[in-house]
């Protein structure tokens, strides 16, 4: 009796699966490296989409961030990749497009809602074709522990001078690590250090474009001064910061042992989980700056597999990604990843709202090593990790750092060889 029951159930299950796969002709799968966000996609984003388009089934199938590029390439070459491809910014995706793996999205109607800067990470060098819908950017700044600031009667620093004074006060008090940042993994030194405060020195997009057309050099004062500013941080970083890894930094601040954390906005959700009383201030500009600049870096896009068997449905989905509805869901589900569309978005997380609010006060720019300048050997981004970590470690002088970057760039980049 029990056996028959079980058999019937199994048969029904098999039949239902078979039925389901027949019914899912309109099924699309998403390739992504954001495995951290899998629940948000499954519980919030996909249901919202399906409420509008019940005939299309969407599956989110992420890969670990480190393996994503290699795994995706292999699946695209082998013809087994999903219909929707989450796009890394700049050259990695551009290469997929030139190889014919990503489809052009010029005719997508929602594309009109994005600025050229937002689209720059997924547009061909001639600016004619865009192949991914800009999805999110990350903003750099500093997150601080409100309780510690209240305890030591500190105010958010507005200038670099005030910033150093605040660090000095925290150091003299001696209870907390003034500036939480480690150099063991190197990338934080470049990303949370150099690219965080640098735009104020090289005037954001203006300086970034000058590097690309060869009218500015990395040995120019704006770059050397950025390194000089970084060099002053050493004494305020935690004991043994040279061997401090990124998770170490997150724990140090998350446990309330650090006062100021050199941040990327994506860290907000990490610290929310640890209940840190957070505030945020933008990179404090050096004395005599008229304008302020923030690193508002295009980080995630989303495009379509050119060989997708279900291109029509994939386009419907991509169009929806460009909508205001998606922008609002995404911004609130993932505080710290900011939608790039011109849609008006309200974010309930106050720290995330502070970060995104800087867009109105300052000019946005992207990281200067990302577009075009990291195409040769030696790779500029790798070089920046290396020299920024060395400058913070006190092992390299600011002008030597600039000189090493310039020498490396000059070796292969024609506009810098003039």
């Amino acid at each position: 009796m029990l056996k028959t029951g079980l058999k019937t159930m199994l048969l029904t299950a098999v039949a239902m699966t078979a039925f389901a796969s027949v019914a899912s002709a309109g099924k699309i799968t998403i390739e992504s490296w954001r495995n951290d966000d899998a629940t948000i996609w499954k519980e919030k984003i996909i249901p919202a989409f399906q409420a509008k388009h019940p005939d299309i089934t969407v599956e989110f199938t992420p890969t670990a961030p480190k393996e994503y590029n290699a795994a995706l390439n292999a699946r695209l070459e082998g013809g087994t990749a999903g219909d929707i491809i989450t796009c890394r910014p700049f050259d990695a995706s551009l290469e997929l497009f030139t190889k014919g793996h990503l489809a052009s999205l010029n005719d997508l109607s929602s594309m009109a809602g994005f600025s050229d800067v937002a689209k720059s990470a997924w547009t061909t060098d001639d600016g004619k074709t865009t192949f991914c819908v800009p999805m999110a950017s990350v903003i750099h700044g500093f997150i601080y522990n409100k309780d510690i600031f209240a305890e030591l009667k500190l105010a958010e620093p507005k200038t670099e001078e005030e910033f150093l004074a605040v660090l000095e006060t925290i150091k003299n008090d001696g209870k907390y690590v003034p500036l939480v940042l480690g150099t063991n993994d190197q990338w934080e030194a470049a990303t949370m250090g150099f690219q965080n405060i640098g735009p104020n020195y090289w005037k954001g997009e203006e300086g970034r474009k000058k590097l690309i057309d060869g009218t500015a050099k990395l040995t120019d004062p704006e770059y050397v001064n950025t390194f000089a500013a970084l060099a002053k941080w050493g004494p305020y970083m935690g004991d043994g910061y040279k061997a401090q890894t990124y998770p170490d930094s997150q724990n140090l601040f998350g446990l309330g042992k650090g006062a100021i954390y050199a941040a990327g906005s994506w860290d907000i959700s990490t610290f929310r989980g640890q209940d840190v009383p957070m505030g945020a201030f933008k990179a404090p500009p050096p004395a005599g700056s008229a304008d302020c600049y923030i690193s508002d870096h295009t980080d995630i896009g989303i495009g379509m597999n050119a060989k997708s068997a279900n291109a029509a449905d994939a386009k419907v989905f991509l169009d929806w990604i460009g909508s205001d509805e998606f922008a609002n869901i995404f911004a609130n589900a993932l505080p710290g990843f900011f939608p790039l569309s011109s849609a008006k978005v309200t974010i309930s997380d106050d720290v995330a709202q502070t970060f995104v609010g800087w867009r109105g006060e300052c000019k946005s720019t992207i990281r200067n090593s990302y577009q075009i300048l990291s195409r040769g050997t030696p790779n500029l981004e790798n070089e920046m990790w290396n020299v920024s970590a060395q400058v913070l470690n006190g092992a390299m002088a600011p002008d030597a750092a600039g000189a090493q970057l310039q020498d490396g760039l000059k070796k292969w980049y024609a506009p810098q060889q003039k």
């Binding site: 061997a243 170490d248 140090l252 050997t377 981004e381």
Partner: protein, 319 residues
């Protein structure tokens, strides 16, 4: 017993050519197929790839030995390459100077006749070898961490706190620190190999030496050690091959850039970075294969030296 053997022999002798070939294929086939597909083919494919150069449009053009010339003469490539080679030699010497002598000493102690808890020691010392490098890397990073590490508290408790430094993060100490962690992990391998060799030495030889008036230590140096030289040679060549192929521990602890300032960069990490890329650096199949081929050549030369200069002159004793 003898009949059965003869029967088996006759069965093969009396076999037709075809069935004999079938029998060969049955026993050798799987190994031939597996080695061809997973070792020989990739090796030749890598060498083949190293002769091509990637063009900006993504096509590959035949470049002869041009990539090798670039790797060895263009400073963009040669500086990191020789840096990685130097670091790798250093990594190897640390293993030879620390891991193998300790392995030998441990094996000698394990083979002491009146040792208690022998199996426990053997298992405990061999244990790290079986752990994943990711676990090893993570545990040691925690032990040595300047923030929560036990090593700092330990030194402080002894009043030696001033000796503590962020060893993994300093250019001068990063490489030796990872080398010693690797030694800690793999010391079980020379120990077990040498221990097995020591066990194979007949008791009579030691008894004779004792009768001749040698104590335990003298008997070890003058009788046992010469008898295990072939094993020590084998251990050395295994260490060489493993060290020049090493990658995982350094990648797990220091990332693909193996910093600070590439001070812990070895051939494996340089190859990985070049072949698979890193952050914005795209993978370069041809230069990556060139580095892999150089690694192969270095290992080949090392193993050849061992085979021709040492192995052939070695005396073997059979008991």
């Amino acid at each position: 017993m003898a009949d059965a053997k003869a029967g088996a022999g006759n069965a093969i002798v009396g076999m037709g050519r075809g069935s004999y070939a079938m029998l060969l294929a049955f026993f050798l086939g799987p190994a031939v197929v597996i080695y061809t597909v997973f070792s020989i083919y990739p090796l030749f494919a890598t060498i083949f790839n190293s002769l091509y150069l990637r063009q900006p449009d993504g096509a590959y053009l035949f470049n002869g030995l041009g990539n090798f010339q670039t790797l060895l003469t263009d400073t963009t490539w040669s500086v990191p390459f020789w840096n990685a080679f130097r670091n790798n030699c250093y990594f190897f010497f640390i293993h030879m100077l620390v891991q193998n002598p300790i392995g030998l000493a441990l094996a000698a102690m394990l083979s002491l006749p009146r040792l208690r808890l022998r199996a426990t020691y053997r298992t405990l010392i061999f244990m790290p070898t079986m752990l994943s490098v990711v676990i090893i890397g993570f545990s040691w990073q925690l032990i040595l961490s300047p923030l929560w590490g036990i090593s700092k508290m330990f030194l402080n408790a002894l009043g030696l706190g001033f000796l503590f430094a962020p060893w993994l993060g300093q250019e001068s100490t990063a490489l030796i620190t990872v080398s010693l962690i690797s030694v800690w992990q793999f010391v079980g391998i020379p120990m077990i190999l040498i221990y097995t060799a020591l066990l194979a030495i007949p008791e009579e030889l030691i008894d004779a030496a004792t009768v001749d008036g040698l104590n335990q230590f003298q008997a070890f140096v003058w009788v046992k050690l010469p008898l295990i030289f072939p094993t020590i040679g084998l251990v050395s060549v295994l260490t060489f091959v493993n060290n020049f192929n090493a990658f995982d521990l350094i990648y797990a602890m220091k990332g693909a850039l193996a910093g600070p300032n590439f001070s812990a960069d070895i051939m494996g990490t340089l190859f990985y970075r070049t072949f698979f890329g890193n952050q914005l650096q795209l993978g370069d199949l041809s230069m990556g294969s060139t580095i892999a081929t150089m690694m192969f050549l270095i290992i080949l030369v090392g193993v050849m030296c061992y085979l021709f200069l040492i192995q052939r002159r070695m005396q073997r004793y059979s008991f």
